[in-house]
């Protein structure tokens, strides 16, 4: 092994002491695609018209057979033709759902942008780039194994110790872990750019965090759809199989398991590149999961699905180390899985790329990469790096500080650039700010020389314009070598900027490598992935089901409240006499609290005045229609890829309607009433519309089923709550007398639940308590009756179980017991003395004990009725717990396992 000690790092570092793990843990909270941003304008070609030079660079680096037809194709087209193609490209990308930091429902959207003109990498350069990439990967793989082990490179003094052991990305925990398949790096990226002389240089390592593969593939797919012609004449190497190659290596990590479960762990929709995670998971046919989907139990990792716990063998993570396990890394992480590291330690699960590999992406180490390559491989680097300086070294810092215009200064990872936001040379003020910030933690910053020469050409509104570019290439570990995917993601800078982020309108180019060059550069000829593409798994994770479930519940809750408000407004305005109102109002107020109870709102609120109803709809406090709806919306947003566009559209429209009126408390009653009616009408119209549209347009998988289950559970709870809320008046009215009052009260009640017409049709008689109870609890035909809702739940749950799962069938047993009970209660027994004799039906055989006990009228009966109602309510609400435990959080299955442990196995 050759160990050169050229240019020994100065021993005079800033301070003998370091602050590892201090402030600047960068913005790794959520994976950002910041490194897809072209921060550093670099180009290889001169500006000008669309001649050969512009598109493809100096003749000598271009494969003519690839370039010429391309030039002809674009050269022969008029500006408006090009513009049409641009529009088609945009539409295609949108349709494919390629987004970057694009949050549905927000006004600022960032669809991905791909230029019409592909970038071509010449054969000999491709060879050079892929060899350089492999060389670096090999060296850094050795490096990681060494520093998490014997630390020879540090002991030998080949590189200084501080940038390694003092790096916030050096993970001490790795000393007790072994990396999967004995390697830290399995899927990697690298950025290359050119300097003024045309020399290719390595700009950054993304060895642990290869973001951009999906965008590379999507660019190719989109371009092939929009201009298929340009592909006809050349053999462009395909990148379509990229995820399958990677999946292949993931699956090979567990040779002893015939069909291993591999998942992609994502930070979720908060990530700017969530669309990439989703694309890769779909392409690989593996579940896309978030921290909450996984559970550590007995040192194993399980995926929580609605059909039970499934053991996970390998995790491809897009969550950075620091957020993976709150027990080991950042304690405030909600993206990770507690206990995950321990499962890795026990060898029960593999994490790719290995924990600790992020150290390879630390820019401070980029500065020492040539020495690292020489130390481990005894070779000179095939490609140089863009000259970079670690500012923890005081001499280097002095040099950089003396000429800030010449450098871009960045933290150790991420793409933030200190100084001018547009990448212009810093003003005196900005320069002072840079110095101050760097001096605080100099070892956390790296300066890179600005290497800008010319630029490249993209189409904009049919015109050719100049832009800067660089290229991201990707590779996966393949046996003892690395397979470099024949293509790249070329990043293009946005208009008028040297630094602006892609999210502000920067773009990309499809990037071509000729099939011939690929063959020449490939390390093996087993180019076909061993796994066939499999259909994406249909099992729904419990987290997704849970979100659906709560979306259903919140929507139903918002609907019920809006419906009641709507009815009351109508009654107030059109129908009621003053004396009737007096009877109605207490009823309304009693119905209200149960609606809120699950929202956890503290204060009681009324529904009797126009202002109260206005607030109930639009006040932004918990329990109101607008805030309940926004909870539903919050769940819906996290389900974005599971919802059909039509169903989503309905929710977005409703949201807009709810946001329109300004909430003001200085209005007249008539104004309140007007707004209230309009909004209540809208909600009452849109929410059922959402369910209908979703039913028609959604995949009828378990996810959607849980939305309906949520709706039914909520509806049953609302009805059951309502029944309890009137139980007092049901039993007291007899003594209070006044059949008219009783009737009004009951029919008001039925109306608020939207069941008055149903009552008339079923009973064809005046409203009486026993009938109301019977209908709303036990009549399977009546809309909103508890039994009807529960039966629907039962049917839906039965559909979503495959096989005899004990834990989930427990929920079903509970549900069916309650249904059975509800159907058999003889409500008339409670009203024998109060009601007319002819109304009292004979007791059903085997009437429930509670009912049988209460054949006596009077206090005893009323006591028992209220007990019975409360008992039934509790049982109805318990259905929620049973469903959650059985399908959503798996408490049931775990509790059972624990009992087994107690009973003598351990």
């Amino acid at each position: 092994m050759i160990t050169e000690r050229k240019g020994q790092m100065s021993a005079r570092t800033t301070h003998p002491l370091f602050t590892p793990n201090s402030t600047l843990l960068s913005d790794y909270t959520k994976e950002t695609l910041s490194h897809l941003i072209l921060e550093e304008p670099v180009s290889e070609f001169s500006t000008g018209n669309l001649g050969t030079e512009t598109v493809l660079g100096p003749q000598d680096v271009v494969a003519p057979d690839l370039g010429d037809p391309l030039l002809q194709f674009f050269g022969n087209r008029k500006r408006n033709e090009i513009r049409n193609l641009e529009e088609r490209m945009e539409a295609t990308l949108r349709e494919m759902g390629v987004t970057f930091d694009f949050v549905r429902g927000k006004s600022v959207a960032h669809p991905w942008f791909c230029d019409l003109l592909p970038h071509i990498i010449a054969d000999h350069e491709w060879k050079q780039v892929s060899e350089a990439f492999r060389q670096r990967l090999k060296a850094f793989e050795y490096f990681l194994r060494d520093v998490y082990g014997p630390k020879e490179i540090l002991r030998s003094g080949a590189i200084p110790m501080h940038p390694v052991l003092g790096s916030p990305y050096f993970q001490r925990v790795c000393l007790s872990l072994s990396p999967p398949d004995n390697a830290y790096i399995h899927l990697a990226g690298m950025a290359v750019a050119r300097d003024q002389t045309g020399q290719l240089m390595v700009k950054n390592h993304y060895f642990s965090h290869a973001s951009g593969i999906a965008y590379m593939m999507q660019n190719r797919r989109a371009l092939a759809r929009v201009i298929p012609d340009i592909f006809r004449d050349f053999a462009v190497a395909s990148v379509a199989e990229t995820p399958l190659f990677f999946l292949d290596s993931l699956r090979q990590m567990t040779p002893d398991i015939s069909d291993p479960t591999v998942v992609l762990l994502s930070p979720g929709t908060g990530s700017a590149v969530y669309s990439e995670h989703s694309f890769l998971a779909r392409r690989m046919g593996i579940p896309l999961v978030q921290g909450d989907d996984l559970l550590v139990l007995d040192d194993h990792v399980y995926l929580k699905t609605v059909s039970g716990l499934e053991q996970v063998d390998t995790i491809y993570t897009r969550v950075a180390d620091a957020w993976l396990d709150p027990l080991v890394f950042r304690r405030d992480s909600r993206l990770g899985v507690p206990g995950l590291v321990h499962a890795v330690r026990k060898g029960r699960v593999r994490i790719v790329n290995a924990i600790g590999s992020q150290l390879a992406d630390d820019r401070a180490l980029l500065c020492f990469s040539s020495r690292i390559i020489r130390f481990y491989l005894g070779e000179n680097p095939i490609l140089p790096i863009v000259p970079s300086y670690w500012l923890g070294d005081i001499d280097q810092r002095d040099v950089v500080f003396s000429n800030l215009d010449k450098y871009r200064i960045r933290p150790l990872t991420g793409e933030r650039v200190l100084g001018d936001p547009d990448g212009q040379p810093p003003t005196a003020e900005q320069a002072a700010a840079i110095r101050t910030e760097v001096r605080k933690h100099p070892h956390l910053f790296v300066a890179q020389e600005i290497i800008e020469g010319g630029n490249t050409t993209v189409f904009n509104q049919g015109k050719r314009v100049d832009r800067f570019q660089d290229h991201l290439v990707f590779a996966t570990k393949h046996g003892h070598n690395y397979e470099v995917f024949p293509g790249a993601l070329t990043r293009v800078s946005p208009e008028n900027s040297r630094l602006m982020a892609s999210e502000l309108g920067g773009g990309s180019k499809d990037t071509w490598v000729s099939a011939r060059a690929e063959e020449a550069a490939a390390v093996s000829d087993t180019r076909k992935p061993a796994v066939d593409r499999r259909p994406p798994p249909r099992q729904v994770t419990s987290r997704v089901a849970d979100r659906f479930y709560w979306m259903g519940r919140y929507l139903e809750r918002a609907h019920c409240a809006a419906y009641m408000v709507q009815i009351i407004e109508t009654l107030e305005l059109e129908e009621l006499t003053t004396s009737e109102r007096k009877l109605y109002r207490p009823m309304w107020n009693r119905l209200l609290p149960p609606l809120e109870s699950s929202g956890g709102a503290g204060g009681r609120r009324g529904i009797t005045t126009a202002l109260e109803r206005y607030r109930l709809l639009l006040d932004r406090v918990p329990g109101t229609v607008v805030s309940t709806f926004s909870r539903a919306m919050h769940n819906a947003e996290s389900l974005q890829e599971s919802l059909s566009p039509e169903a989503w559209g309905t929710l977005v429209k409703l949201k807009a309607q709810l946001e329109r009126p300004r909430f003001r408390l200085d209005q007249q009653d008539t104004e309140y009433a007007k707004t209230t009616r309009r909004i209540a009408d809208t909600v009452v119209q849109y929410i059922p519309q959402f369910f209908a549209i979703a039913e028609d347009s959604m995949l009828a998988d378990n996810g959607w089923k849980f939305c309906e289950i949520g709706q039914m559970v909520e509806r049953a709870a609302v009805t059951a709550n309502a029944m309890v809320s009137i139980s007092k008046s049901l039993t007291k009215q007899a003594s209070r007398g006044g059949q008219h009052a009783e009737e009004i009260e009951l029919s008001a009640f039925l109306r608020l639940l939207g069941t008055r017409d149903a009552y008339r049709r079923v009973y064809q008689m005046r409203t009486a308590p026993a009938q109301v109870l019977e209908m709303l609890w036990g009549n399977p035909e009546t809309p909103r009756s508890v039994v009807r809702c529960l039966q629907r739940c039962d049917a839906l749950l039965r559909e979503s179980i495959n096989g005899g799962q004990i834990h989930s069938s427990k929920a079903i047993t509970e549900l069916e017991e309650l249904i059975f009970r509800l159907k058999r209660i003889n409500w008339h027994l409670f009203f024998v003395s109060a009601a007319d004799d002819e109304l009292a039906r004979p007791a059903a055989p085997g009437a429930s004990i509670a009912a049988a006990e209460s054949t006596e009228a009077g206090e005893f009966a009323s006591q028992s009725l209220s007990n019975l109602l409360n008992g039934l309510l509790r049982q109805t609400l318990d259905i929620h717990v049973a469903i959650s435990d059985g399908f959503l959080n798996h408490q049931a299955i775990i509790a059972q396992r624990e009992q087994l442990l107690f009973s003598g196995f351990k």
């Binding site: 602050t19 052991l165 925990v173 007790s176 550590v296 007995d298 206990g339």
Partner: protein, 293 residues
């Protein structure tokens, strides 16, 4: 000496916790002068532990309760025989400067014990104290004893005056704290001076010693400091009690600071807060008959 230590920790959650994952660093180490005779860890509700050794050499017991529970009690109980060890005179007789040089050759191994941490930061005062108490030309022994005494005298031990979240800067300003703070202050000075040092968490004798003096900090877990000497020997000092540690100190866990060595670290899922109560009971057995020479 022979001790039986019982350390009970109660977690009571505000709201039922759905999942809890805990790492316990409660297994006392076996080493010269410290022999573990019997040891058990009782977790209620019951949970199986899974064991590993961490970066700092601690035996960690990992366990999880991934189901609903309202209360968690962890009882650590063991019997230990301690014996006073002779201080490594040779290593203590080198000067501070020589020690720094000798240790410098193994920087890759001791790097962590020289760095400030999130908790143990460096400040001006630490640098001044280092200059005053640990001058390069004195012997390590004198320097350490001077520093130990200086902290003991310069800081006031006051129970309950601080908690785990009190920043070290506050301790420096107010010059009072508990054993953990004394240890952190000492670590920051030692590291500033280039002497590798680590945090120790353990228990101490609660009964009067030979000279009838009682040790401070016996009702809870105690904390002190170990310093690495040339020849890779650790020596232990207790700045809270102004003495070298001996047979009345029982070491359990080590780290760069309290956060590494914390006896219990965990996370639970639940909306409410939690309250923690820890109690330590020390039972001392009558002096055993000294074995005949």
């Amino acid at each position: 000496m022979l001790f039986e230590i019982t350390h009970i920790t109660d977690y009571v959650y505000g709201v039922v916790a759905a999942e809890a994952y805990i790492e316990a660093r409660l297994q006392p180490i076996e080493r010269p002068g410290q022999q573990i005779l019997k040891r058990k860890l009782v977790i209620a509700p019951n949970a199986a532990t899974s064991i590993y050794t961490d970066f700092f050499g601690n035996t960690v017991e990992f366990f999880s309760l991934p189901y609903r529970h309202r209360k968690l009690t962890i009882t650590n109980q063991f019997t230990v025989r301690t014996k006073k060890q002779k201080l490594p005179d040779d290593a203590l007789d080198v000067t501070v400067q020589e020690a720094r040089q000798l240790l410098g050759s193994s920087l890759a191994d001791i790097f962590d014990y020289l760095q400030p941490t999130e908790t143990v930061k460096v400040n001006k005062e630490a640098v001044q104290w280092a200059r005053r108490c640990l001058p390069g030309k004195t012997t390590i022994r004198t320097a350490l004893e001077t520093l130990n005494k200086a902290i003991y005298e310069g800081f006031e031990y006051r129970k309950g005056s601080t908690d785990n979240s009190t920043p070290l800067a506050t301790i420096w300003r107010e010059k009072k704290g508990v054993c953990q703070d004394f240890a952190h202050v000492m670590l920051s000075i030692l590291r500033t001076a280039g002497l590798p040092a680590r945090y120790v968490c353990g228990y101490i004798d609660a009964f009067p010693g030979e000279d009838d003096s009682r040790l401070v900090g016996a009702m809870a877990t105690h904390a002190w400091v170990e310093v690495l000497l040339p020849g890779q020997t650790w020596v232990a000092l207790d700045p809270t009690n102004d003495q070298w540690c001996g047979d009345r100190h029982i070491a359990v866990s080590f780290g760069r600071d309290f956060r590494d060595a914390a006896p219990l670290r965990g996370t639970f899922k639940g909306s409410g807060g939690q309250s923690l109560k820890a109690r330590v009971f020390v039972k001392k057995f009558p002096a055993e008959k000294a074995p005949r020479k």
